[in-house]
Symmetry: C2
Amino acid sequence: MNTISSIDLFIPDIKTLLQKKDFKELKKLLLEINPIDLAEGLSRFTPDQQILILKLLPPHRMMAVFEELDLKQQQFLFDHLGDEALAPLLEDIPPDMAAKLFKKFPEQIVKRMSNLMKKEKIDTVCSILNYPPQTVGAVMQSDVLTLSPNMTAKSALERLQAWARTRIAEHITMLYVTNSERKLLGGVPLQSLIGAPTVMKIRDIMSPVSLIKITVSMDREEAAKIFVRYHLNSAPVVDDENRLVGVLNVDDIIQIIEKESTEDIQKLAAVEALDEPYFKISFLKMVKKRATWLCVLFLGEMLTATAMGFFEYQIAKAVVLALFIPLIISSGGNSGSQAATLVVRAMALKEIAFGDWWRVVWRELAAGFTLGSILGTIGFSKVWIWSQFSDTYGPQYTMIAVTVGVTLILIVMWGTLIGSVLPIFLKRLGLDPAVASAPFVATLVDVTGLVIYFTVALLTLSGTLL
Amino acid sequence: MNTISSIDLFIPDIKTLLQKKDFKELKKLLLEINPIDLAEGLSRFTPDQQILILKLLPPHRMMAVFEELDLKQQQFLFDHLGDEALAPLLEDIPPDMAAKLFKKFPEQIVKRMSNLMKKEKIDTVCSILNYPPQTVGAVMQSDVLTLSPNMTAKSALERLQAWARTRIAEHITMLYVTNSERKLLGGVPLQSLIGAPTVMKIRDIMSPVSLIKITVSMDREEAAKIFVRYHLNSAPVVDDENRLVGVLNVDDIIQIIEKESTEDIQKLAAVEALDEPYFKISFLKMVKKRATWLCVLFLGEMLTATAMGFFEYQIAKAVVLALFIPLIISSGGNSGSQAATLVVRAMALKEIAFGDWWRVVWRELAAGFTLGSILGTIGFSKVWIWSQFSDTYGPQYTMIAVTVGVTLILIVMWGTLIGSVLPIFLKRLGLDPAVASAPFVATLVDVTGLVIYFTVALLTLSGTLL
């Protein structure tokens, strides 16, 4: 059974066969390995061996391995595979993959690729390159079989059979029906086509309306959300005039969903989206993606020193107040982080829209009051009970306990309010709501929280401690 | 075009037709609405209207709408739909859906359901109920068509045609080949079957090995990761003896992936997984899921007050030190949050395994040193330059600047170290790495960070300020 680390099991055998130069056996063995596993293990062989291994694979397998490699490895292979090995590879390369390489490779390699590719495919690749990279156009399959409404089920199946023979299996689940101008009329699930009486007309099998269409210029993240919402396997992609230009499949989408979640998670921790796996991203790049936000937060947090400067006299007079500063500001920060994260995720899942902002505000103020009261009660009790046995908080301990308790209620309410409202309004301004990261909200609440704390202290303790 | 809020467009028309009692037109209109949109809009009608609307739908459509409703609505409908409307619904109900309802509904309704269902289907439902809910067994499709290796492509297609006629389209992309003991031999992509010469034997079309198998007792989250890694559309599910027991489809998996990401995001913000959409979860439940962690963090953060208690004398002597406390501890917390989140996500994506822990440690210590040096330099400069124009930090400003700068380097290194190592070791102990949430790491770093700060201060300032 193939499991995630299965390549480890194959490597010794591959090495033995390479040493024995038993290429016939090696070829057989390589076919047993999932191309994605093989791609992962490839870097453990010498460059010469890598070339040898790839050349032993049938072209569509070589392509499947190649797709999974990183840019550096891909470029190395292109430089070292002869034209006779590259030509079949480029014949099988899906246009969207070729487009990716065209974009990333140096001009010289692109030129060599173009020379080995059919004019027709180059045209498709160029049309993909014209779509902005974040749009559906850049990820869809543009090679689509279309049916016409007047065909019978039999002739449609025959057409499909002819079409399928010249292509690597691409998991078709739905066939699309267009008129003579390529305008989309409907869709036929492959299974319905197979199950239909042979003389039945396509127009009578197809479902015209419940078809969900994706436009070619749509953001692919948006398309991913439609896939999740409607449990889709594939969807037709149309241009502004409802002409079918491609198909989007769920296996393209699943990668986007996973990637978007990773980006959101990273942004919520105040890291710019890494866009690469943890160990693959270069050290400097990673540090840069973390440093930017860390510096912004640091500069913001400097205001805490300024804010505390205003209350330096009070701190000097009642040092006991300083002891609770980390406890109080972190409680505001934590409740704010919770609220921000819940709201940002709910917005990503389309559970909350801008119009809901006042419902969110009420819910979060109520939640903040409840949570703040819980923490406030614990805080009050701790100071008050402790003071029955100890002198730490001095003779004014009751008023100190009240100050801590009241501040906690206010600061937790303030934190949940900021944390929940900020992402909604960031989105309204056209910004990414995930900018309202946990640390960002915490910093905002830290600065303002200090002002709340010392204001409460001035009100409760003036005349006694202050 | 159907978009996410398209139901809003239909509601006025539906209401008009309901008033006019024009059920023929209404029936036509309802067929145009995607069942998922219809389910979302259903609660905007009166209970009587809801029943009426559902009764106008063909059974498989009614099922599709029904699946999307929440438990309360489902139960209401079951109570109010007569047996004559329920019977066809239950005939079409997929066994996995029926299993979910059996588990959630009160005994009385389950009894009524069983009476209306075929014995065969009840058996399937019971076998699903025997699988623990988090496993693949509980989400897979157990109704699978199998081929035998000696069939011709023609007879396989005929068998598929007969099978497909009796079922609602379920997006088949792969057919599975078993021997007489139902042991899995291989798979045939539907497209290859369609494209194959009619007399060709299935054994010559099927791919035996690159097939990735999922076991029925596997955690479904684990299965989801295999789907993402291998870009799968579907996978066969086998029991311990390699017998085919079901199929897992990507559209079942995509919901799991999205749900797991949401859970991870919520846990990283120190919220227990909500398991329900933001507005659907009851207020008390939501508060509870937030309060637990907030209280734990609060109790942990109380140690900051204790830690600061030890340094109360130093603070009283040099109040200026207190001004930098929020700035310093939040910098440690922020860098720790970043590290923890990056590592937790990388572990979820299988980019980091336990064996990598020392590589992570080195990387994070280096990153921490670099990031700490940046913040330390900013911090040092701010204090030093400011002191050229102001008296805020007193005559010992250079040593205060050094204290702040050095502490920042140490605390950021400490934060990244804790943040990166903690999730790895939590996982090693069999705990959820996402427990190392941003606020949790921040709290740990707050407490220890204060000790670092005052220790550095004692070393640099003793004899002068302290």
